[in-house]
């Protein structure tokens, strides 16, 4: 379970999050929608531990630990996964090597045995197939020369292998065609279980046709201004965010 309590964060002098409070019980998928500049991406970066954001107040408790005090790699080991809005290219780093290093780093920190190359490749190939990706995906350099859709699929591949307890998808749908969108949705839906929860950040309702959220929150001006069930997303699609921002 993730409990975010009265979270305030700033970049330099600009306060972006102004008291976000939100609870995601295990097994649930929550969506955060909101206009540009509401603080959606800031929330995902603060939760995953990126530099440059200062938390001035509040906490984020995941499975009993305040993750805001942890290093990014410790958060990953604790079960957090951030699917990037703009996945980073790593020239010179092979995808398979990267995935195996990440998986083994997490296994190590959990006290599990590391996977050898053969066992890893077996898992990785199965995941690649499941995500309808080409075999050569594993041989290429991480995200280098990938199309927008391929980069997002690569995020889903990482998620499938790392098996997080809590996934944060930061506008993973941006720039995706409908087929890629479905693959992202399948990637999330495949992990759905009582032990898995997700925070899906999106600008549009269409992703939520494929990943049906338990709860939809509206983030505007650094605060959650409304929460409701999946129907709220449809309502927003029709009426827009106008009116909510003033709240």
């Amino acid at each position: 379970m993730l409990e975010i309590k009265n979270l305030h964060a700033r970049i330099g002098d600009a306060e972006i999050l102004k008291g976000v409070t939100l609870t995601i019980p295990d097994g649930e998928i929550h969506a955060i929608m909101g206009p540009n500049g509401a603080g959606k991406s800031t929330l995902s970066y603060v939760l995953s531990g990126r530099d440059g954001y200062e938390v001035t107040e509040g906490e984020a408790i995941y499975n009993g630990q305040n993750i805001l005090e942890m290093e990014p790699e410790e958060r990953a080991a604790a079960g957090l996964f951030l699917a990037f809005q703009y996945p980073v290219e790593l020239p010179g780093v092979g995808n398979a090597n990267f995935l195996r290093t990440a998986l083994n780093a997490i296994r190590r920190s959990r006290g599990e045995e590391e996977l050898d190359a053969v066992a890893f490749l077996k898992q990785a190939r199965a995941a690649v197939k499941q995500l309808a990706m080409k075999e050569d995906f594993l041989k290429r350099n991480v995200n280098v020369g990938f199309s927008g859709g391929e980069k997002k699929r690569n995020e889903m591949l990482q998620m499938a292998l790392l098996k997080p307890g809590l996934a944060i998808l930061d506008e993973t749908d941006s720039g995706l065609d409908i087929d890629a969108l479905k693959i992202v949705a399948e990637g999330v839906n495949a992990l759905r279980s009582e032990k898995f929860s997700a925070l899906v950040i999106t600008h549009y309702q269409r992703l939520l046709d494929h990943i049906v959220p338990d709860v939809v929150h509206v983030l505007a001006n650094g605060k959650i201004v409304r929460s409701g069930n999946a129907d709220l997303a449809k309502e927003l699609e029709a009426s827009g965010y106008v009116g909510l921002e003033a709240a």
């Binding site: 995953s48 958060r75 790593l90 020239p91």
Partner: protein
């Protein structure tokens, strides 16, 4: 004795040899320490403090006795080498012979400063092949001033892979002069990790059509180390490709230098030259000097060069960490990736393994 070059000379602008000229170097002592030899099944030449040790070396069919040639050039380092040379390899591979691999090991150690000036000669006949794996190591204060005269005849291929892992108190100046004939190749890679001050200077003359030179290097330096990689490639015949990828990783107050000159004679049409020098500065006190120089007298050539100096990309570091990879490992992965382009042409497995092991131990020390 010829005086050491000073920074007033354009070719030595970035590398100050006063640390060498202000040190009093004696004759090399007999070496007490046991050498650390790689476990590889190749014939080997083992030099201890600059002298070939027969007991530690093994037979190589194409080795000739040391026979210094008269110095024709006017370069100060070569003249100093010629005046002081006492030993060196002298290899002649006959036409059509694939001579496999040889190890060239230099191990140095002594209580007081000393100098040695190996003078090596490697000649490959037409269509011959040879791979030289060179490892320079040591302890204490010494100066190795080595010189290689290399002649690669028509259709022959010489691979020359060097690991410079000298003592961090030592000085290493290595001058290489290679003459590369028609359809012949000289493929060079140096990994510089050691020495307080080092310079590898390669002059490669492409004298026949489609002769090829690969002069690649990587240097990883920390503390107050100074590493200089200087090349002069002379395209003297048409249709010759030359490739240079030089990567420098500089920590602490280290200083890296790359000077790359490409000369294209009027006759050398269809020259295909590529030169890339990139530096990664891991600390605000590190410094890199890059000087590319193109001198082109032919009108139908392709010569590209590029230089970049930067820091590790923190976005990339965060991406790796967000996947559970500890920060130190994330940085190491990215540094190794940065080096990849220079290491990639080293397709010889045993050499590659030597370089990978040396890099492993470098990470451990940082």
């Amino acid at each position: 004795m010829t005086a050491l070059p000073t920074r007033k000379l354009e070719a030595w602008r970035f590398t100050d040899l006063r640390q060498i000229s202000s040190t009093e170097f004696g004759a090399p002592p007999a070496m007490a320490a046991a050498p650390d030899l790689p476990d590889l099944p190749f014939p080997r030449f083992v030099f201890l403090n600059g002298t070939l040790n027969a007991a530690l070396s093994t037979a190589f069919a194409y080795a000739k006795p040391f026979a210094p040639v008269r110095e024709q050039g006017a370069q100060p380092m070569a003249l100093i080498n010629a005046a002081n040379a006492k030993d060196g390899i002298n290899i002649e591979v006959p036409d059509g012979v694939d001579a496999g691999e040889v190890l060239l090991i230099s191990q140095a150690s002594g209580a007081t400063p000393f100098a040695f000036h190996p003078r090596h000669r490697v000649t490959l006949g037409q269509g011959a092949k040879l791979t030289i794996i060179e490892i320079d190591k040591g302890e204490g204060v010494y100066w190795q001033n080595a010189l290689f005269d290399i002649d690669v005849a028509q259709g022959a291929t010489l691979q020359h892979f060097r690991l410079q892992q000298e003592s961090v108190e030592a000085f290493n100046i290595t001058s290489i002069r290679a003459r590369i004939a028609q359809a012949a190749a000289y493929e060079h890679f140096t990994l510089t990790l050691g020495a307080k001050l080092s310079r590898t200077e390669i002059e490669a003359d492409l004298v026949g059509e489609t002769a090829l030179a690969h002069l690649n290097a990587a240097q990883l330096l920390g503390g107050a180390q100074h590493g200089d990689f200087t090349t002069i490639i002379r395209h003297k015949a048409p249709n010759c490709p030359s490739r240079q990828t030089v990567k420098s990783v500089l920590a602490g107050k280290a200083r890296g230098v790359f000077q790359g000159k490409i000369e294209v004679d009027q006759i050398a049409q269809k020259t295909d030259g590529y030169q890339m020098s990139q530096a990664l500065l891991l600390s605000p006190d590190a410094e890199m000097d890059i000087k590319p120089e193109l001198q082109i007298f032919a009108d139908d050539v392709k010569c590209s060069h590029g230089a970049t100096i930067g820091a590790l990309d923190e976005e990339q570091v965060f991406y790796l960490r967000s996947r559970g990879i500890p920060e130190a490992d994330a940085r190491q992965i990215l540094i190794r990736a940065f080096l990849e382009e220079a290491l990639e042409p080293v397709t010889h497995d045993a050499s590659k393994a030597i370089f990978e092991d040396a890099l492993e131990s470098w990470w451990g020390k940082q």
